[in-house]
């Protein structure tokens, strides 16, 4: 479902003396449906960079990243957008909110983008928000003013609204209390059970041990840097 071969990433900072920083070299990773792989490695090893390349908001300098049969490194923007809409979900650490859009609509939006009627999309959103213990009086409000933990849960609800065949999870249990952490872990287990291929970053070791089938140490692909 997700297949990376020989993916490399360098950043060229034109406005800082054209410094070239090689971050990842020759990453290969294949994730099958129903499998969850954890990215591990010290802070700065390139876990988030790798995840962003798979989502397509970072450009890979070489190699191929095939998700749902499309190589995202070569694909046109509209193809990448289609894959993101239909195939590849992403729960980032931070919710990017649009002012004035209600929490319910924020969560329902991925389904609306797939052409689902408003009522069905909102029903699914309500179910997820209830499950994640977001109090009903907040549903009509924009999440702009919510606490960090509440925003994180809205973000998770949005990420799980559509049953994506492939998912990227960046610290999905960070800043959650025990009860909500449990809800999120069971959402991940359900996604695996229906056959989703998942790549995640989990600093929460117990969570990682519970939902992940294997680990990939990203520092293996970090080129040795001259000190």
């Amino acid at each position: 479902m997700i297949d990376l071969s020989n993916v490399s990433k360098t950043f060229t900072l034109h406005n800082q003396g054209s410094a070239v920083i090689e971050v990842l070299h020759d990453v290969c990773l294949r994730v099958e449906p129903g499998e969850c792989v954890a990215l591990t490695g010290a802070s700065g090893a390139g876990k988030s960079t790798l995840m962003r390349m798979i989502y397509g908001n970072y450009m890979a300098q070489s190699g191929s990243i095939v998700v749902g049969g499309v190589d995202l490194v070569q694909a046109e923007p509209r193809e990448v957008i289609r894959i993101r809409r239909e195939v590849l979900g992403y729960v980032s650490q931070f919710l990017r909110v649009v002012p004035r859009v209600s929490t319910l609509d924020v969560v329902a939006e991925p389904l609306r983008m797939l052409g689902q009627p408003s009522r069905a999309a909102r029903a699914r959103a309500q179910e997820l928000l209830t499950g994640l213990n977001i109090p009903e009086p907040l549903w009509a409000l924009s999440p702009t003013t919510f606490s960090g933990g509440e925003q994180q849960r809205v973000n998770i609800a949005r990420g799980f609204a559509h049953p994506y065949p492939a998912m990227l999870l960046d610290e999905p249990t960070a800043s959650l209390d025990a009860a909500n952490r449990e809800v999120v872990l069971s959402l991940i287990e359900q996604a695996k059970a229906r056959g989703a291929a998942i790549i995640g970053i989990f600093h929460d070791e117990a969570a990682r041990a519970r939902v992940c089938d294997r680990e990939l140490d990203v520092s293996r692909f970090t080129p040795a840097r001259a000190a």
Binding site: H14, N15, N57, M59, V98, P99, V101, M113
Partner: protein, 267 residues
């Protein structure tokens, strides 16, 4: 799939000065593209060339004209991709009243200030042949509602409206005929941030629900982040970088884009 708009080598010079040089891209149905760059980068010149307001010195702007419908004058052989640069002025004018819409930065450039709000919306319908007063009024009421203008303001002139309301009225006037391609020139420029947020949210909903294609010129990176699927970055008349919006903004490759992105103040 046929692109809705295929832009091929569009160049516009002002004497020795380059307005925009050799710009090419394809825009597909339902795609929203942002054009960003500092003042003088050529983005407005390019937009005006694409929309037929300026004649480019070179290049083609090929639009996939639609099947004839009841209210436009197209005949069978006019269907399919046509170069709008070489088509006749009346044909281009018809296109700009039907399939195209243009949202100006200053609402007063896109509205008739001496005509009521309802009249502003109705006028565009009449330009494509609508004649039944009741139907026109009904559509105007519907559209004022969609852009969140109280329908009891329908007989008021836009001169009595706030800047944000005028801008929303301009959008209603443009979208009432169901265009397929909307050109927008700094649609949120000069508005308060709270008014901007409302307008952006409205535009986002309309673009999604109507399946519109749009080209948005702006210097505001937050606007394109919110509205555009893809981005073109212009500098001194040239396109220096293009791609998926969040790729260009999160991982800019060109020196100028890196400078542009890093110059935005964090709030």
């Amino acid at each position: 799939m046929t692109p809705l708009l295929s832009v091929q080598g569009v160049t516009k010079r002002y004497g020795a000065h380059i307005g925009c040089a050799d710009v090419s891209f394809d825009l597909y149905p339902g795609e929203v593209m942002g054009i960003v760059g500092e003042s003088g980068s050529g983005k407005s010149t390019l937009l005006n060339c694409l929309a037929g307001h300026l004649a480019p010195d070179a290049g083609a702007v090929v639009f996939d004209t639609r099947a004839p419908s009841s209210h436009d004058g197209n005949t069978q052989q006019d269907r399919g991709p046509r170069d709008t640069v070489t088509m006749s002025e009346p044909e281009r004018r018809m296109l700009s009243r039907t399939d195209w819409a243009f949202v100006h930065q200053h609402a007063r450039d896109g509205l008739r200030m001496g005509v009521s709000a309802g009249g502003n919306v109705g006028e565009r319908l009449m330009a494509v042949g609508a004649r039944n007063y009741g139907d026109i009024r009904e559509k105007a009421v519907d559209w004022l509602g969609r852009v969140e203008i109280d329908t009891d303001r329908i007989d008021d002139r836009p001169t009595t409206f706030s800047g944000g309301m005028q801008q929303r009225l301009q959008i209603a006037r443009n979208l009432v005929t169901g265009p397929r391609l909307v050109f927008m020139d700094e649609p949120t420029g000069g508005l308060d941030v709270s008014v901007q947020a409302r307008l952006l949210d409205l535009l986002r909903g309309l673009v999604r629900d109507m399946g519109l294609s749009a080209i948005i010129v702006t210097h505001d990176l937050a606007v394109v982040r919110l509205l555009a699927d893809r981005l073109m970055v212009m500098k001194s008349g040239h396109v220096v970088e293009s791609g998926l919006t969040d790729r260009v903004l999160d991982d800019p490759q060109h020196a100028y884009t890196q400078l542009l992105v890093s110059s935005v103040l964090q709030v």
